[in-house]
Subunit: 210 residues, 2 copies
Amino acid sequence: MATQTGVPEVVVERLPQYLRALAHLKESGIEVISSQQLGDLLQVTPAQIRKDLSYFGRFGKQGRGYAISNLLAQLRSILGLDQTWNVAVVGIGRLGRAIISYPGFEPEGFRIVCAFDSDKAVVGQWAGGLMIHDFSTFKKVAGAEGVQIAVVAVPAAAAQDVIDQLVDAGIKAVLNYAPKSTLAPADVRIRNVDPVVALQSMTYYLSAAR
Amino acid sequence: MATQTGVPEVVVERLPQYLRALAHLKESGIEVISSQQLGDLLQVTPAQIRKDLSYFGRFGKQGRGYAISNLLAQLRSILGLDQTWNVAVVGIGRLGRAIISYPGFEPEGFRIVCAFDSDKAVVGQWAGGLMIHDFSTFKKVAGAEGVQIAVVAVPAAAAQDVIDQLVDAGIKAVLNYAPKSTLAPADVRIRNVDPVVALQSMTYYLSAAR
């Protein structure tokens, strides 16, 4: 499935993984890497890496590999990570509160700026320094806060309804923690955080006779 | 990187995604699918799907596609999902409690059977029907409970030390929620739940001029 930009979505989804690997290499003091070495690290063919990057320009020099700092900066720019993104969390139960206090978002440029729930018992309370707003006010509050991304941490049964309302409010990117497949218009991106898929790729190795 | 079974780890990591897609198709009442159709759905080339599956045997019939129920059953068996796996959660803060109450594990065969923390203030308390054990007793308690997989939900600074102790206790599969890269011996699998990677693949589409 190609997007309006002509870059297949699966390619865009791989770029953050390249970014992560390159950042680790840079931290280790490595300055240049070949597509072969990067491929070995990521378990992807070098041809795949070259093809993926070719959608966005010419990076490495023939026979000399990629200058890591330069490629990192370019990938961050391509992915829109040279700015801060404002995030709303919807559903402030245990999971929502854990998300608000998760320390991994802010250093990567994702700032949680507001919190929503539909339970009157928690609306008006505070979670991690944020007042919990009534979800019925999402459009107004999120608009005023400049929210571009919503994180959904509601029960599975409520997920589709919440996402429908986010779409109505103009949200184009949703990180969904609810264990449920959801639907949205083609111009809205949904990514699911699904720990079960990760577990299922480990049981292979745990099974008997391996 | 190939494993001792000769199947590249990246192939094993793709199988749960095939499983997920096939399960959705089956729920929709579809009985047969071609590698082309499955590839379109997953944004992978049909050749890649055929190659991945070829590591495990011959499934589809030439020109007739894959019988979905049969392929599902075989993939579940290959991945070791035709049994229940006992899981321990380490780190019973907000995130650990959210994981214990997450309803998506049990239907997929992952049963959380015990909980651990090193904070004396919470040890002995209950979380989601489980008594919180002192992490120093992990080896004994997890052994008695038949734990095969550990979920780590401790702060980033504690993650490596906790994983070292899990490895000492004989754990071979770790689902790590701590926002930190960790190391383990080659025969131990670690999967990281990293919501930032998912966010970073959406900002591409949110950036200006697309």
